[in-house]
Amino acid sequence: MENVEITKESDARGSFCPGPLMELIRMVRDAEVGDVLAVISSDAGSQKDLPAWVAKAKHELLGQEDFEGAVRFIIKKSH
């Protein structure tokens, strides 16, 4: 995801389910439409919860990548 400009990033490693999801929801709420957000999570539940929420809330998951043993989710606020 090197060619995507991240508007805001949050490192939620060490936070437990549903912490990273709550962090993502807050970031999306506070962002502008079109902003690209990144959340890093080490929590097992979030690996499926974050993409599920992004789909449900009709935003766009641009990608997820390994990040120092955790996962970095990249999300675009679509509306």
Partner: protein, 138 residues
């Protein structure tokens, strides 16, 4: 965000079950469901003002887990269940209601309860709130 509903009868006042109920309530709120939590008996006791700050009650059937579980939650900075519910109320549509019968039985008034509790209702209202959605008893 959605017309889907989840209703939880929260009967238990032990930290393990309060955690479980709160995580489900937060998750359902985050996923866009309209969540109603109906507090009755020990569930309501756990929402008496300030009780959550000192509550270390734990399920009797896993009593030996009480100390290690509480210690692990503290060490790993797991958010308190009450804070999780406040989060759910912030991000989603969560309403917490107190059972009128329990209030009467134990002489409780709204002023004795945490501010997150919005109103006192009867079981009839709860059943009406829950109609057509998922309901669970914890």
């Amino acid at each position: 965000m959605s017309e889907e509903k989840m209703s939880i009868v929260l009967f238990s006042g032990t930290v393990d079950k309060l955690m479980a109920a709160s995580i489900i309530a937060v998750g359902a709120s985050a996923m866009g469901k309209k969540v109603t939590v109906f507090l009755t008996f020990y569930g309501l006791m756990a929402f008496r003002k300030g009780d959550w700050q000192t509550n270390t009650r734990f399920s009797k059937d896993f009593e030996e887990m009480a100390e290690p579980a509480m210690a692990a939650m503290k060490e790993k900075n797991v958010p308190n269940w009450m804070n999780m519910l406040n989060d759910a109320a912030e991000v989603g549509d969560l309403t917490i209601k107190a059972c009128g019968m329990t209030m009467d039985l134990f002489g409780l008034e709204m002023e004795h309860l945490e501010p997150i509790v919005e109103e006192v209702t009867g079981v009839g209202t709860f059943v009406q709130d829950a109609e057509g959605g998922q309901t669970m008893f914890i």
